[in-house]
Amino acid sequence: MISLDLKDFSLTYKKLGATAILIEWPQIISEEILTDILSFQSSIEKSTPSGLIELVSAYASLTLIFEDTKDIESITKELKALYTARISNPSNNKTWVIPVCYEEQFGIDLQEISSALKLSKQEIIDLHISQSYRVHFIGFLPGFLYLGGLNGKLHCPRKETPRLEIKKGSVGIGGSQTGIYPIASPGGWNIIGSTPIPLFDNSKSHPCFVSPGDTIKFESIDQLTHDQIIREVEQGSYTPKAEIL
């Protein structure tokens, strides 16, 4: 299957230390680039270049990490050929519904950003749950999803003084991004709610149920439901809700 819908980008190949190659797309955040990265990644994975131990994708880059020092010229030649021959990644991307409790106990910065953005708390919640968010990659912390698509009305500067600890599951807005803290961490985002479901589970060999290319939707739940889901997660009876696109 030769796909005609893939646009060829002009890529650059650079060394990142002695054992890694950094492939860069035009440095912008776009779903078209995301799709192209995932397609190239999948064709690299299928061709299994010798000594490749892992691949790390980001907004507009893909890093190949090798066991040993690589000759950049020969590997670049190999990669360029793979890029030309790549095919569109079959879409098995999922849409996940992430329950979030936006009540006062969890949405500790809702009041503050409501004043700053001149929107009521309910308007902020409605805007936050009305969008779909594409997962571009996982980074920064184990299980931290880099999401695109935050409504411009919700863009809001990070807090001047970061908190020393933000609780696991906290949902926040920082600048033009929204995201979920998968584990407790210091952080400067404005916290608007909390999800009871684990985005990172260190007891599983595949610790994140969400993958790059998937889509996230938030669903507002009350505290009773939040606490109920916490219990289900603890008992191991909770399954994240997904719909195949």
């Binding site: 980001a58 920064f140 912390l141 184990p142």
Partner: protein, 282 residues
């Protein structure tokens, strides 16, 4: 299974091996021994696999009670290791008897020592590694008083009991760190390579924060992209951060330089207050 009881934990003592390979796409750092050369030498002396879990000891050592015999080797920084109060030879195999107490004293050189044990410490693995990564509760927690460490005692030495290594003084005296250009090398001020930097107190397994005399402040950022242990990030403040073994997988500051593997092993033996320079190689 033989047991070691932690009588006191030291400043920051963790179990490390060669780290988690293949999980960066989930945002999981590599971790592993900061000075992989020293950890490796200790494991080699004992005839262990190079991935055998060791204890990484930072500046102030723990006090450990061995409930059984053990063959150990201590490499890396010199923290005046002692058994029952008697100074102990390092960089060689030492036989510990049951009820012996291993402790540490004054830091003579370096920053991190490695306590290696025959067969390695027996620690549950997460994602293919026994390394402690505190933030996500992977591996054993950082050592605490009362904790028990386990190992498989095997008093038959199947290696040369008298083998010794001579630690290269180069590792501990050298203060010029070898670097190669990073992806955003073109954003670096050339004076950076002639500057002397001080290692600040705010330096740990995630990163070494440096202060220089000259200002390298700027206003450039990059779209969040991959970083690796050894990546030198230059935040707008102009004070560089050298990312270390527990570093995040991605970052948004320009990656001006990349420290070589040997450079990382040398740098992690420097402590806050030490002065370093960078030297561009090849």
């Amino acid at each position: 299974m033989s047991v070691i009881e932690v009588l006191s934990p030291g400043l920051y003592t963790t179990v490390q091996d060669r780290g988690r390979i293949g999980y960066r796409a989930f945002g999981i750092p590599v971790s592993g021994s900061m000075d992989q050369l020293s950890a490796d030498l200790g494991n080699k002396l004992l005839g262990n696999d190079s991935n055998a879990p060791v204890l990484e000891i930072t500046m102030v050592g723990p006090k450990l009670l061995f409930q059984d015999k053990a063959n150990i080797a201590i490499t890396g920084a010199d923290l005046s290791a002692q058994v029952n109060g008697e100074l102990l030879k390092t960089n060689t195999i030492v036989c510990i008897n049951s009820e012996d107490v291993l402790s540490f004293g004054k830091l003579k050189y370096g920053c991190r020592a490695y306590l290696c044990i025959q067969n390695g410490f027996d620690v549950p693995a997460h994602f293919g590694s026994c390394s402690t990564y505190e933030k996500a509760q992977l591996g054993l927690p950082v050592l605490k008083k009362g904790m028990k460490l386990h190992y498989q005692n095997n008093s038959n030495l199947n290696f040369h009991q008298n083998s010794r290594i001579k630690p290269s003084s180069f590792l501990f005296k050298e203060n010029t760190i070898a670097v190669i250009p990073g992806p955003e090398y073109n954003l670096m001020n050339e004076k950076f390579l002639s500057e002397t930097f001080e290692i600040t107190q705010d330096s740990n397994r995630m990163g070494y924060r440096l202060n220089g005399m000259l200002g390298f402040s700027h206003s450039k950022s990059i779209l969040t992209s991959s970083v690796m242990p050894g990546t030198i990030q230059l935040p707008p403040s102009g004070n560089p951060v050298v990312l270390m073994r527990d570093c995040q997988t991605t970052g948004g500051y320009p990656r001006i330089l990349q420290v070589t593997e040997m450079g990382i092993n040398i740098l992690v033996q420097k402590k806050p207050g030490d002065l370093i320079k960078f030297r561009l190689v090849d």
